[in-house]
Symmetry: C2
């Protein structure tokens, strides 16, 4: 995973990658003691296996379409949709189209 | 502010409002003990006066363009850009164009 931590106040581009998606990689935008934000790049067919984190999570589909399994339910997310999950909830993703996602994770100790 | 809290796992539309922006209002998407996410609707010229919150904040410009003043610095944000601010940092916004923004706030007690 390429690391490119943004400083506070620094503008970060999270526009759709479009034709550059296939050559793009996941980017950790920043991580502090309480919050982590990353952009996940998922070409069609790519999966993120089921996992969970302690804190709450938001998932914002920036482009494409993904299948989100969370808490035993499957939902189809498309660009421009956002979802939040409680801490400790198992979730998995499969890209239905070439997709990128903004993940925001509350870091709970 | 219209309140429309989303349940965990519920898909929420945060696409650009476009021509509906002028008739749209701020929406609290959800609020828990640790996280609050809202969509701020700012027609051109609208300002949010300087203020601060305890926890960290991300501001994601979904459409339009805003002038962000944070920690004494002024930055021009446009659609598709994101910024994060540390807790306790004064910030203010002025919409340069009709804009909507996704605000994510870590709630620190």
């Amino acid at each position: 995973m390429a690391i490119a931590h943004a400083a506070p106040g620094q503008l970060v581009d999270v526009q759709p990658l479009g034709s550059k998606l296939s050559e793009s990689r996941n980017v950790a935008l920043f991580k502090t003691d309480e919050l982590e934000v990353m952009r996940l790049v998922m070409p069609a067919g790519k999966t993120m296996p089921s996992h969970w984190v302690k804190g709450e999570v938001t998932i914002h589909c920036l482009e494409g379409a993904v299948s989100l399994t969370a808490g035993g339910q499957i939902r189809q997310m498309k660009a421009g949709q956002l979802v939040w999950l409680e801490g400790g909830v198992d979730h998995a993703l499969t890209a239905v189209q070439d997709s990128s996602l903004l993940l925001t994770i509350v870091l709970r100790k």
